[in-house]
């Protein structure tokens, strides 16, 4: 089984920064009191990158930039060869707001007057494209989009890029935003848990396996694998499995959030299992510390 070392992680979420997120999790003071559709505060990004360069960057990509920069800083590594650094992003719905904005522009103004900028920012790889541009990542840039299993698919690609020696490091992320217009179009399909929707980004800097670091690996299953410490997400939340949705809400980045929690709080080994609705297959991410 392929595995990699987690060298750094960063997170931004409706609940707040990674510091707040982990602190709240520790205290569990937010349990069952999640605020509906809280928007992520991305104002801190202007302290990390020049404000003028961010002028046309949508919130979706700003969330990704904040989490990615934190993961890189957290790793505290010398600046890697940019041609050997890859980027892999898992996103269920990509830039949902820009996508809906583009459709609004067609519906309100007609196709002839629809917004080309909104279209170019509505394509699924907009987030990864902008991140590679801002972070000067040149060793390949991949976007995986398969709803709740997007992060698992992204991890699979990241592990392959490292194992094949195409990259020395891979910045792996999960990134999704809320849009009320999108949610009201398909509320039943999007409501994976009884809890309100949340949004955010989780990034990890992965490197080839080295001792004394948290290890991440992935396996695919059609039944829930057995392990001592399992956390479930996606369509598994409603079947009485242990899950964290009451803490972080309903989100397609749930498996990545579980992974971050396992890296931060986990003991020896945690299995983060996720299943997409109406799909038998599930992905199990193993974190070993």
């Amino acid at each position: 089984m392929l595995s990699a070392s987690i060298l750094g992680q960063g997170l931004i979420h409706s609940l707040g920064s990674s510091e707040i997120f982990f602190s709240l999790y520790k205290d569990r003071i937010k349990e069952n009191t999640f605020v509906s559709q809280t928007s992520v505060d991305v104002s801190g990004l202007s302290n990390m990158l020049p404000g003028v360069s961010l002028r046309r960057v949508p919130k979706y990509a700003r969330m990704g930039l904040m989490a990615a920069l934190e993961a890189l800083n957290n790793a505290n590594l010398p600046i890697p060869d940019v041609n050997r650094l890859g980027l892999v992003v898992g996103t269920a719905f990509s830039g949902a707001q820009m996508n809906i904005d583009f459709m609004d522009s067609i519906l309100e103004a007609s196709p002839q007057l629809s917004s080309p900028t909104a279209f170019s920012h509505a394509v699924n790889n907009m987030g990864a494209g902008l991140l590679s541009l801002f972070l000067n990542i040149r060793g390949g840039c991949q976007t995986i989009t398969q709803f709740d299993l997007s992060f698992a698919g992204a991890l699979q690609v990241a592990l392959l890029l490292l194992a094949s020696n195409k990259n020395d490091y891979v910045l792996l992320g999960a990134l999704d935003e809320n849009d009320a217009r999108f949610i009201e179009t398909c509320p039943q399909e999007l409501q994976r848990t009884p809890y309100p929707h949340s949004e955010g980004a989780v990034f990890f800097l992965l490197g080839k396996s080295i001792p004394n670091t948290a290890q991440i690996s992935l396996s695919w299953h059609d039944t829930i694998p057995t392990a001592n410490n399992i956390v479930c997400s996606g369509d598994l939340n409603k079947n009485n499995h242990i899950n964290n949705a009451s803490f972080y809400g309903t989100s397609p980045i749930a498996q990545a959030l579980d992974t971050a929690l396992a890296v931060y709080f986990g003991t020896e080994e945690t299995l983060c299992v996720c299943k997409e609705k109406n799909i038998e297959q599930m992905a199990a991410i193993n974190i070993r510390k």
């Binding site: 519906l107 699924n124 494209g129 392959l160 399909e189 799909i279």
Partner: protein, 417 residues
């Protein structure tokens, strides 16, 4: 050099045809016609496109059209490979540009109309729609399955489920490099022993939203596109699906599977320059190319030809053409999008299949649409059918977001068979 993998099944659906014989005939005769965009939707802008010849019974105008394209190609590829994947250690890697996200407007229009209706009733305000050409879209005309289509049309997840595939499942959405990336990632799944078989490729059907988007970017030719030509005026969109069955060579030999060719190398590079424009020195493409060449253990002199991305947009062709002229001046360049249009997420996979076909035939077709060298590029793609004897071809893809992918395909099986 890393081990190549065998292509034991391949199938594609595009305006070029649906079987290899008719596809080769179309590629070599250039006999193809553009379709009127009104067959996509009555409100489409007046830019013609290359339609996939499978929607005679009508379109869903949803992501299910992409799903159905991919499913038909996958059925044909599996039949070609004589493979039942359900009991095997199989993975699936499929690329798409529009994915589900850009085929959602009917469902959204219905929801939006309801929201506006409710707002009017709640606020007592007389909110009216602006414009009139898309008024039909704003009425609650959607069928109840529209939103559901969105969630049933994720290519790898749902096709994997349809075919009982239980291994690694990856839907790539890297814009126009998606199909090539899917094949490259599929090859790595085999090299790293994550699977014994991989279904990979790409698919995209067109509908109002992606067609409108590309038209509004002002990169669309109203007539037949002219890749690399001095008078090119933009792309023609197309739609299609291209699927390969890959396996390790020893697996293919053990089960006496037909080997159509090999995937020998893959590279990917990001421009990190501009979101929609390629880097002026094509640095991402250079990285992808060098990585693919190293992956295959080749020298560039071993390449028989290049199948270029060649969209016929000003920027793509200027940068890509200048790159070939500078780095690979002796190698014939074939641009095939005047036959199929730009099939977006399918393009990289479709052109990998075209490249294998050309290697099998020892002939590179003429680049239709090209007549006059652009002095800013100085590249002349193939002006006539060209005989070749070498066994390797490079296929390049460039995409939104600064992505670049390079695939090296081969028919050099002499060392293995």
């Amino acid at each position: 050099m890393k081990a190549p993998v065998a292509v034991t099944g391949m199938a594609s659906i595009s305006a070029a045809g649906i079987d290899m014989q008719s596809i080769w005939a179309t590629l070599t005769t250039g006999s193809n016609t553009l379709s009127h965009p009104s067959i996509l939707h009555k409100d489409t802008l007046a830019y013609p496109f290359f339609a996939a010849p499978i929607f005679s019974n009508g379109r869903r105008d949803s992501a299910c059209d992409t799903f159905n394209l991919a499913r038909l190609a996958m059925l044909a590829a599996l039949k070609d490979a004589s493979l039942d994947v359900s009991a095997q250690k199989t993975g699936i890697v499929l690329g798409t540009t529009a994915g589900s996200a850009l085929h959602f407007i009917e469902a959204y229009a219905q929801s939006r109309a309801l929201r506006i209706h409710n707002d009017e009733n709640n606020n007592g305000e007389n909110t009216t729609f602006q414009g009139n050409s898309s008024s039909q879209l704003q009425s609650p005309l959607s069928q109840p399955h529209d939103a559901d289509d969105y969630f049933k049309a994720n290519l790898a997840l749902h096709l994997g489920q349809s075919f009982n595939i239980k291994g690694p499942t990856i839907t790539l959405a890297n814009a126009c490099t998606s199909g090539a990336d899917a094949i490259g990632i599929g090859m790595e799944l085999l090299r790293q022993n994550e699977c014994d078989y991989v279904i990979c490729g790409g698919a995209d059907a067109l509908s109002l939203v992606p067609h409108t988007g590309f038209a509004r970017l002002m990169v669309y030719d109203e007539k037949h596109c002219r890749p690399f030509d001095a008078n090119r005026a933009g792309l023609n969109l197309g739609e299609g699906a291209a699927i390969m069955v890959l396996e390790r060579i020893e697996t293919a030999l053990a089960r006496k599977a037909p080997i159509h060719g090999l995937i020998s190398g893959y590279g990917s590079g990001s421009d990190a320059h501009h979101f929609t424009a390629p880097h002026p020195e094509a640095r991402g493409l250079l990285h992808a190319f060098e990585s693919a060449l190293s992956d295959a253990g080749l020298e560039s002199s071993q390449l028989a030809f290049i199948n270029a991305h060649g969209t016929a947009t000003q920027e793509n062709d200027k940068i890509e053409g200048a790159f070939f002229h500078k780095h690979l001046p002796e190698i014939p360049v074939w641009a095939s999008k005047a036959i199929t249009g730009h099939t977006l997420g399918a393009a990289g996979a479709l052109e990998a299949i075209f490249s294998l076909l050309a290697l099998q035939k020892n002939s590179v077709p003429k680049s239709y649409g090209f007549t006059e060298i652009d002095p800013k590029i100085l590249l002349s793609p193939t002006l006539a059918h060209t005989e070749i004897s070498k066994k390797y071809a490079l296929s390049t893809s460039l995409g939104f977001g600064g992505g670049n992918a390079a695939l090296i395909v081969s028919t050099d099986t002499s060392a293995f068979i």
